[in-house]
């Protein structure tokens, strides 16, 4: 009975015959949602008349959990936010904690963070653009990209010992010195990448069917995107040249020369192209960083924050005291609050942290870009076809783990 009333209202509002309305759940478990998102759509034939999106299926209360974790332990939580580019979250959080503690890390650490952040940006964009291919029915390009991603994970594995949940770095520096072949490995990884991206371009970018599937799909205007709080590639696709790396450089981003690609219409094709071009820009940054990689210690000289090496703990007095202090009392930043944003692959990833002087954050909020994208999903889907809905969902690249945290 209630459904009929609702249907009638919708039919009147959108000027369709109420007998034509057909309910369909795109999600929470659907091949195209890539995670647990739910869109309840009302269809008129293939056209989506009304969309109602629900979130909360993947909520793991990370923000509350963080209030019981020490500053380094929060790092493991950030791994599980955007699991496609977990290092970006790690870097964002360490930067936020360092800002709170007032630590200036050595140039080497900053450069390595830039390299790893850009590497993760490439990984994330490889997956996003590849999945756009998969969702439009072209599976092959995705596997070409997946191969490159696996090779990148090999490097990440060497750096951190894990492939997906990286827990990269620590507050105050890197968790361990760089391994010896780091430079060669990165350069080796970069070498075939332009060719693969070019291959992908020939496979999809100029493919007539692919263009027609993406052009004009879920367009969003500059103003609307800003109103929703879009950031990252999706905002740039709409024509706003906003990039945290340029607007508020962190981790010595001002040392590097790179361009920020900007789209014009904000449709799925622009979002795709912005990501494709950004990969090339990221490669440029990585090359510059590798060339100018300075020598030096892998952590800042902050013994009260950064754990001493184990062998020193057993042999030197100061190290043992600091070790004891950090383990037993924790890292205690001064009372205050801090907001640190980084340009994560998906957009502005912010960490707002309030400290009461204790070993755990008093309050921690993650500003994850996906939540802001997903607010617009109802507006973007309505009026399109089912196939458009799929392309919209994959092109705005909502990662369920980051959306709900």
């Amino acid at each position: 009975m209630l459904k009929q009333v609702i249907d009638k209202e919708i039919a009147q509002q959108y000027d369709v015959d109420e007998r034509d309305l057909y309910d369909l759940n795109l999600g929470p478990s659907h091949p195209a949602t890539h995670g647990i998102l739910e869109n309840r759509v009302k269809l008129d034939g293939e056209r989506i008349v009304k969309c109602e999106s629900h979130i909360g299926y993947c909520h793991r209360s990370f923000e509350k959990l963080s209030e019981h974790y020490s500053y380094n332990q929060v790092l493991t939580i950030t791994d599980r936010m955007n699991y496609v580019s977990s290092m970006a979250n790690n870097i964002g959080w360490t930067l936020a904690a360092e800002k709170l503690l007032g630590i200036e890390v050595p140039k080497l650490v900053q450069y390595v963070r830039v390299i790893m952040l850009e590497l993760n940006r490439i990984i994330d964009h490889l997956i996003c653009t590849g999945v756009m291919g998969v969702d439009s029915g072209a599976y092959t390009g995705f596997l070409y990209f997946m191969e490159q991603r696996e090779r990148a994970y090999d490097i990440i594995q060497k750096m951190t010992g894990a492939r997906l949940t990286t827990t990269f770095g620590r507050v105050g520096g890197l968790d361990r010195p760089l391994y010896n072949e780091f430079k060669q490995d990165i350069l080796e990884w970069l070498r075939p990448l332009p060719k693969v991206i070019k291959e992908f371009h020939t496979l999809l970018t100029r493919n007539r069917i692919f263009i027609e599937r993406l052009r004009g799909v879920s367009e969003i205007s500059e103003e609307r995107a800003l109103e929703f709080g879009f950031t990252g590639p999706n905002l740039r696709a709409a024509g706003v040249s906003y990039d945290v790396r340029k607007a508020d450089p962190f981790s010595s981003y001002s040392d590097f020369d790179f361009d920020v690609p900007v789209g014009s219409t904000g449709d799925a094709y622009d979002r795709y192209m912005v990501r494709m071009v950004e990969m090339e820009e990221s490669m440029k940054i990585i090359k510059q960083a590798i060339e100018n990689l300075p020598d030096g210690p892998h952590h800042a000289d902050v013994p009260e924050v950064y754990l001493p090496e184990k062998k020193h703990v057993y042999s030197s007095m100061e190290s043992m005291i600091y070790h004891f202090k950090i383990i037993m009392h924790g890292i205690r930043p001064p009372v205050g609050e801090v907001y640190q944003a980084i340009e994560a692959p998906n957009g502005e990833l912010g960490f707002y942290c309030v400290s009461d002087g204790g070993p755990n954050p008093y309050r921690l909020h993650f500003r994850s870009p996906c939540l802001y994208f997903y607010q617009s999903i109802e507006e973007l889907l309505e009026g399109g076809l089912i196939a458009d809905a799929i392309m919209t969902m994959s092109s705005i690249n909502v990662i369920a783990g980051e959306l709900e945290r």
């Binding site: 057909y22 309910d23 369909l24 659907h30 091949p31 195209a32 293939e46 291919g133 998969v134 969702d135 439009s136 029915g137 072209a138 599976y139 092959t140 596997l143 070409y144 191969e147 496979l203 999809l204 493919n207 069917i209 692919f210 027609e212 599937r213 076809l385 089912i386 196939a387 458009d388 799929i390």
Partner: protein, 351 residues
């Protein structure tokens, strides 16, 4: 031996032969598809079961039979069970009229390497081909699943639209050949390679090929089962051998569709510049048989190539392509062909 007994024996043997060959070839087409896909996607493909993964086909068959037969609650059980067989049969019936080879002489008896040389074979193909969609619609509707229903609806509109285009392409071809018998169409294309219809009907060939793609519901026309949009379309709820039959039906459709393209446009079993010997023996029969399969497999390969390369159309784009592009071009093609035929006949050059 009375004529009728000899006839029955001959036809029974040919039917069994064709049936076994086609089904075996189709089964191994699934293996070829995976090998081709693996090659295109730079991965290995099947290489575990047997040499080069050849036994994968048997392994799949066993798996299909061992899986749980699941019938959803409140599904229409009768239709749900019948639907896959229907699709499979409709695809398989086409093999009855495809000329798999020339006639051969065995013991002074002329044997056609074809189950039936119908004089309305082309009509038969079109008629049987359109039956296949009933299985899909019935399966989609009987599953009591929203995604399945959408898949069934998509399939019905897609196949009906593209059948028209396919029919129009064939009409132009028939104007030229003046016969509906597939064997006669092949005989007409004997001789030099430019006797193949594809050279006299390039536009018709393109329309036919695109429509054949759409009929077999493979990428870029796999909307009925678009897995990212409607989960698995009409066979979402199917499991075990019922799903296997849908799947097998798709491959039968693909292989026989390719054989039909080879027959209609690429000279069928005929070998360019080679004429049939006076006394065609078994060797000649095998040669023509092999030639048809080579031509067929070229098109099967193109099917696979396209599948692993192109994205999928959107529903409205599919309809636009069918109704606004292919059908008008097909109609114009008929008129152009007819006009040219009249001109040539007037000039005294045979069509």
């Amino acid at each position: 031996m009375p004529e009728i007994v000899a006839f029955l024996i001959e036809k029974t043997l040919v039917t069994i032969f064709v049936f076994i060959v086609v089904l075996t070839v189709v089964a191994f087409t699934t293996w070829i598809e995976r090998i081709v896909a693996g090659h295109i996607q730079m991965r290995y493909g099947p290489n575990r079961a047997g040499p080069k993964g050849l036994f994968q086909v048997a392994a799949d068959g066993v798996k299909f039979f061992m899986k749980e037969e699941f019938i959803p609650d409140r599904a229409n059980k009768v239709l749900f069970v019948i639907a896959p067989t229907f699709t499979f049969m409709a695809a398989g019936f086409i093999m009855a009229v495809i000329p798999f080879g020339d006639r051969i002489m065995i013991g002074g008896r002329e044997v056609l390497l074809q189950i039936a040389d119908l004089n309305i074979a082309v009509l038969y193909v079109l008629a049987i081909g359109s039956l296949g969609v009933y299985g899909i619609i019935a399966g989609g509707w009987a599953s009591n699943n929203k995604y399945s229903l959408m898949g069934g609806l998509r399939a019905s509109s897609q196949m009906i639209s593209y059948e028209i285009a396919m029919g129009l392409a064939i009409v132009a071809l028939l104007l030229d050949h003046g016969t509906l018998s597939l064997r006669q169409i092949v005989l007409n294309q004997q001789g030099a390679i430019w006797h193949w219809s594809v050279f006299s009907h390039p536009i018709g060939f393109i329309i036919f090929y695109v429509a054949a793609f759409a009929e077999s519901a493979r990428v870029p026309f796999d909307l009925p089962e678009a897995e990212n949009e409607i989960v698995a379309g009409y066979h979402t709820e199917y499991s075990a051998m019922k799903f296997g039959l849908f799947m097998f039906g798709e491959y039968v459709h693909m292989v026989l569709g390719s054989a039909l393209i080879a027959t209609l446009y690429f000279g069928g079993w005929s070998i360019p510049w080679v004429t049939a010997p006076e006394e065609p023996g078994l060797l000649w029969g095998l040669a023509t048989f092999a030639v048809l399969w080579i031509k067929t497999y070229f098109f099967v390969f193109v099917y696979m190539w396209v599948r692993w390369t192109l994205p999928r159309f959107r529903y409205d784009q599919l309809m636009n392509l069918g109704w606004k592009r292919l059908i008008p071009i097909g109609v114009v093609n008929i008129f152009i062909t007819a006009a040219l035929l009249v001109v040539f006949q007037h000039l005294g050059i045979a069509g």
